[in-house]
Amino acid sequence: MNKVLLIIQREYITRVRKKAFIVMIFVVPLLILGMGAVIKMVASNAEEPDSASVIKVKDESGLFAGKLHNGKKIQFLPTTQSLPEIKKELINDENLLALVIPKNFNSKDSIQILSKKKPGFALTAGIEKQMNAIVVNDGMIKNHIDTAVLHSIKSDISLNAIEVTEKGDNKSNIGANIAVSIACAILIYLSLFIYGAQVMRGVIEEKTSRIIEVIISSVKPFQLMLGKIIGVGLVGLTQFGAWIILSIISTKIAGQTVGSTPGGMMNALAVLQTIHFGKILVCFLFYFLTGYLLYSAIFAAVGSAVDSETETQQFMFPITLPLLFTYILSVSVLFQAPNSALAVWLSIIPFTAPVAMMVRLPFDPPVWQLALSMVLMVAGFLFTTYVAARIYRVGVLMYGKKASFKELSKWFFYKE
């Protein structure tokens, strides 16, 4: 057992020390943070153009006079200049626009906005919104509709989902829960392949560098395989751990700097509180670990059977197919029908469960299904590890033999 620890240590340390690993730890949260910032910027840009604009309003209808409100960067100026005069001014000033409203503006294209540069969508949309409101308001007054009454009967419904459980009502935000568990499913899907492939590459490296024979004269092939799988798995957990810690720190910092909008933050916090983090985190760790153990054993067996990474293709496809299939279904179909027969089966079969069950999680699958799925996951990884170990012990000593599935099954039945 001591030797397995040594192997785990080596596998872990050599990987964690790599520059790529350290860079990844910092790059991914920065990327997420950066994306958040970009989204925020785009969102705030939608309300206001980037530079201050002056809009000359030539209103022949007289309907809008004095009713257009200036924004932070938009200023409306009524004008009586003639069109050619306005156009001359527009050519000289980039930040000047002109809104031309004819006497009869009911037809669609009759109102024009003129400028040297094409005006931004946010700007035109803002003006359109204001003008529509003015016209509607005007129409109501003309038709003797009391706007005060109308405002009072205006409806703004948003559904408040309450789960009724034995412990009492539970306010939850299904959308946020779905988002988090789908994100977890995607993370599991990606990490199974990323770390599984790392195990495979490690095995191939040992085989091609021929150090394998030195090592298995010291330890049993199974010990080496186990040490490698656990070592790489710990690298994965370290990576996740670092991301979680960095994310918490960076959102705290971000929260302090954006403290000026307490309303928005409170809202986000309220949503966050409705997410069942405990349950999702426990399931995430469980399905990541068991899924990883299940797949990495297979990856290790594949690595042992080939002489180079290019030869892995023929094995990779059938291995990755179930998970890929589930992944595609997950992000499209599964979360819309979380209790369908397909979803239930996929979340119970060990090869697809890590992704499928994560997606079903916010819809509270029956406890027996969750339990069955978890028991089968454990049984599944024990089974694949057993099969993989038998192939692995033969494969690592086979050089230059082109392995097929038939060949692999033969190796499985070899005696020691």
């Binding site: 040594l6 490296e205 150090i211 394998i212 030195v214 004269s217 010291s218 050089y399 033969k410």
Partner: protein
């Protein structure tokens, strides 16, 4: 030290070892000889517990071979290899620790070996930065770092330049003098006579010959002698106790003859016959080299 009894190993389609038995005594340098593909590596892998025999047993120091013996064996495989991207010092310590050494012991011994083989500057280097010969030297150190009782070397001299091969050869002999038993395989005969105390010859999965080198060579003598004399050329009569196989004339009036004794005669009879006739410089029994025995034996048993 090592007793191999009736080992059979079959791979899909071909037999690697059929009923091979041999005894390696403590302190011996034991050569495992045979052409490529004879089954040497298969046997070595079984001794290292990398594979298990289909039948037969291996005894190590009187005990049936088991996991606890791994730490007492050092193994240099024919296919050399180390982690390319790992620093050498770290890698050597890792490999030694896998053999049960503590970190402190491994570090101390490694420093000693690096100094001895003039490798001090390699500690922080990666394997891929070294030449092939240097890699082999490093791997040799890795093999013996845990001071094994039995050192198994598969084709140890392949890949070394003559200078390094000499260094390694001397290191092997030095380890042997300190008490280590050496088992090495080779298909090159030059090294056998000066290194080995005993050998086994394996061909086509069968052991066809084994024993102490001297004994084997003597058992292959064919009553043949080499004689050098100075003086006038002798014409041998029928009364000579031998027949002449070949005759050559050397410088300074010297002659070399190769002769085969007639049945019932000895070297003394040859001297008796020659002494009155000429001045004898040398009389030497012709003992076949291991190389000759090897070729002869392999040819006898068939070598495709």
């Amino acid at each position: 030290m090592l007793s191999i009894r009736n080992i059979v190993k079959q791979y899909a389609g071909h037999k690697a070892l059929s009923d091979v038995s041999l005894e390696v005594e403590r302190g011996q340098v034991y050569g495992l000889l045979g052409p490529n593909g004879a089954g040497k590596t298969s046997l070595i892998r079984i001794i290292n517990q990398i594979t298990a025999p289909d039948s037969g047993e291996v005894y190590f120091d009187g005990q049936k071979l088991n996991q606890s013996h791994i730490e007492r064996i050092g193994y240099l495989p024919e296919e050399r290899g180390l982690y390319k991207k790992m620093e050498i010092g770290e890698q050597m310590i890792y490999l030694a620790r896998l053999k049960g050494l503590s970190r402190a012991d491994a570090t101390a011994r490694l420093k000693h070996w690096f100094a001895k083989l003039e490798m001090e500057t390699w500690w922080k280097k990666k394997i891929e930065e070294l030449s092939k010969g240097m890699q082999q030297k490093a791997q040799f150190v890795a093999t013996v770092l845990h001071e094994p009782d039995l050192i198994i070397l598969d084709e140890p001299f392949s890949g070394f330049d003559p200078v390094n091969a000499e260094i390694i050869k001397n290191e092997i002999l030095e380890l042997n003098e300190k008490g280590a038993t050496i088992l090495f395989s080779t298909h090159r005969m030059e090294s056998v006579e000066e290194l080995c105390d005993a050998i086994a010859l394996i061909n086509k999965s069968h052991k066809i010959l084994d024993g102490k080198v001297k004994a084997i060579r003597h058992s292959y003598t064919s009553e043949t002698y080499l004689v050098e004399y100075t003086g006038a050329k002798i014409h041998f009569s029928d009364t000579a106790p031998f027949s002449v196989l070949s005759e050559t004339e050397g410088d300074d009036n010297s002659h070399n003859i190769k002769l085969k004794l007639h049945q019932g005669n000895s070297a003394n009879d040859v001297l008796h016959y020659l002494l009155p006739q000429t001045r004898i410089n040398m009389l030497q029994e012709v003992i076949p080299s291991m190389h000759e025995i090897f070729i002869q034996k392999v040819k006898q048993t068939g070598h495709e």
